[in-house]
């Protein structure tokens, strides 16, 4: 029997709030956190709607619990805030004898400072301390150093599914016996770099995004960080922690179709969800809720919707995308939405898909539009799909007593 993987804590910062309580409160009030861009100087400032964390770069140091210092990217600060919360929530400081790893994810890495100082990088020595903070490993190592995590540290980048793959790797490392506990997730800060990249691809909605809507017009980018604490059953016997839920299944598949577009039939999405479901041993109708990747782009929602239809047939679970709340936090989306899905298990709620009005012609189902309370939620699926067709699906379920 394969080792079971349990979730023992989490931490999150997003445009909805600085910690898990604030994020939950905002979700329960069906209040989106997106707004006009404030912290980046860009021509897109008055045009796009974004899920920007409501703090300046300088303010984040206090939230991260560190003295302002040179060399920190906004990305690393977001990562530290959420990772520290998860670490505390899961009491990971206790039992240092347990093998503990950090698996983080990011794609734009420290680009937020790099794009500000790039001209200096090329011409003078004034910003040298930020040269090292440009790459993807920098935020991970800053988190690991602060929290004293040293048994395994790495960084994953599979674009918008990155953080889901961190959770997947963490689970596999625990299952294989290499680690007892893992802090897994991702961080991403908004940058002029990828705002412009997505804008050039013409997939940014200037208005609040409308996933799965017939008239959807693209995505709203977001930023944030989210980490989950994973622990083995043996480890729980030592720590005595009561787990929040169980990670019952995971799947990773590739579209192998196009660098930025998903295939019309959603083959990657289907395979990832199917693998996760098969591993969980659950029947399709045991899945009570799918937190969809649901970006609001033409392409994703059609492809994902078709894949859901193919897997679940005419018994499609409640589906919604929470990206209208948080914006698309790219490399942090996988862990952000894993936490939002776990909140559904804990609070017996199903999140609404904000801004939806008209069903897509091509699909047989519509997403959930109003907050559902006192719902039956024993198992949830969280989807994360990325550029390059890197698709990952995770299933969390209630711990069987």
């Amino acid at each position: 029997m394969a080792r079971r993987i349990f979730i023992t804590g989490y931490g999150i910062i997003s445009c909805l709030g600085d910690n898990m309580e604030e994020n939950l409160a905002s979700m329960l009030q069906s209040r989106a956190g997106t707004r006009r861009l404030r912290h980046i100087d860009s021509f897109l400032r008055d045009e796009v709607l974004v899920g920007e964390v409501h703090h300046t770069y300088g303010e984040l140091f206090a939230l991260a619990g560190i003295e302002p210092a040179e060399g920190f990217s906004r990305n690393a600060l977001l990562g530290i805030i959420a990772a520290r919360e998860a670490y505390g929530h899961a009491r990971m400081r206790e039992h240092p004898e347990l093998l503990t790893g950090l698996i983080s994810a990011t794609t734009v890495g420290g680009m937020d400072r790099c794009e500000l100082y790039y001209t200096d990088f090329l011409s003078n020595d004034t910003r040298n301390i930020y040269i090292d903070s440009y790459d993807c490993a920098d935020s991970t190592e800053k988190i690991a150093k602060l929290l004293g995590i040293k048994d395994f540290v790495t960084t994953i980048s599979t674009a918008c599914s990155s953080a889901a793959n961190s959770i997947l790797l963490g689970a596999r490392m625990i299952r294989s016996g290499k680690l007892d506990r893992v802090l897994a997730g991702g961080c991403e800060s908004l940058t002029k770099f990828h705002l412009n990249g997505f804008n050039a691809l013409k997939i940014l909605d200037k208005a609040p995004c409308k996933p799965f809507d017939r008239n959807r017009a693209g995505l709203n980018l977001g930023e944030g960080a989210a980490y989950l604490a994973l622990e083995s059953e043996e480890s729980l016997n030592i720590t005595g922690i009561t787990p929040i839920c169980e990670l019952a299944g995971w799947g990773n598949a590739c579209e192998a179709f196009h660098q930025t577009a998903s295939s019309p039939d959603g083959i990657g999405a289907y395979l990832a969800m199917k693998q996760a479901l098969d591993m969980s041993g659950l029947q399709p109708d045991s899945i009570d809720y799918i937190n969809a990747h649901g970006t609001g782009t033409d392409n994703n929602d059609l492809s994902e919707g078709r894949a859901i239809e193919k897997l679940f047939g005419n018994r499609i679970p409640a589906v919604s995308s929470t990206k209208p709340f948080t914006g698309h936090t790219t490399s942090a989306a996988g862990s952000t939405e894993a936490i939002l899905s776990i909140l559904c298990l804990q609070h017996k709620v199903i999140w609404p898909n904000l801004n939806f009005s008209e069903q897509m012609e091509e699909l047989s189902f519509s997403p959930v539009c109003e907050l559902m309370t006192n719902a039956r939620v024993n198992a949830v699926m969280s989807n994360s799909f990325g550029f390059g067709g890197n698709d990952t699906s995770l299933i969390f379920k209630q711990v069987n007593k």
Binding site: F43, D135, A144, T158, S176, G197, A200, T260, F387, N390
Partner: protein, 365 residues
Amino acid sequence: MAWINGIGIISPQRTVESKEFLPEVMEYTADFLKCIEPGYRSYIDPIQSRRMSRLIKMGIASAKISLADAGCRSEAETQPWRDAIPDAIITGTGLGSVEDTEKIISEITVEERFLNPTPFIQSTYNTISSQVAIQLKCHNYNSTYVHRTFSFESGLIDGLMQIEEGTARNILAGAIDEMTLNHLHITRRIGQWKMQPTHNLSVLDSGTPGALAGEGAAFFTLGSEKQASTYAELTDVATCINLDGSYRHENFLPVFLKRNGLEINDIDIVILGLNGDSNHDPHYRSFAALFFPETAQAWYKHLCGEYHTATGFGLYVAANILKRQVYPEILHLNNVKPANLNNILIYNHFRNINHSFLLLKSMEI
């Protein structure tokens, strides 16, 4: 463990065009060692490759060479790659597509409005893994690791776990990074590289700070089964992080070897990541002096330069030594002649923070 069944490697040495193992050594006096690229026509449709950046082309070509080397490819181009679908494609890259990333930053620093989306599409780190998947029409597991000198090693750890889990029989694991003049210029500011053109073969005598930079693209076909093309057994891979200065080789290395049924004395060659940086080479010297004073010591970064995934070149070297049972002189760091060529340990470190170990055994034992 897994068997190394195929290798495709594009490097500053003639590793593509020759079936020999380091037949003629390329000498350079340069700011960085640049890859000798193959003609891509035999690997990528020219219409597709026109839009691809150099890194992606190197990635696809080395992946296909690796699969062909492992016999995973039918020779007839009419049925290309039919039997070549790996169960996982995993890439390690420290910096991804530096060239595309620089294009975007340079452009948006001046004017945001007219950005061409192509460099953005190619700039994401997972482009190599996903482009290889697209070429092979491979829907299986696909991931990318981006943690400095842990990037390739993390991918190998992932791949070995899949073979051990029994979820994969064939895995394509890559190590790929590129250097550009801008990136070299910027990272020279923080002491990473030699400040002047340097002769690669005498880099160890430089006595100055900074390494000689390089680049490379290597893909390894790892299998659960030994076959005719097999080079060696990739026994184990480990990464050790030393962020607080508390890491000690003495506590780790004997345990690592022991879990693989070996002791220090069983290592026939230790391959060190020496790169000519007077700040960091002493660490390799003391490591070798402490554990391997009487062992054959080798190095390879004079052939490929330093980059985050340079251990890919190290693995190519080790696998060939074991398969061919030859120990070319160009690799020798000391005069010890190994009695056997059975067990090789590759050790690498980055700034005494990221330490990694790759252990290989020959097929015969």
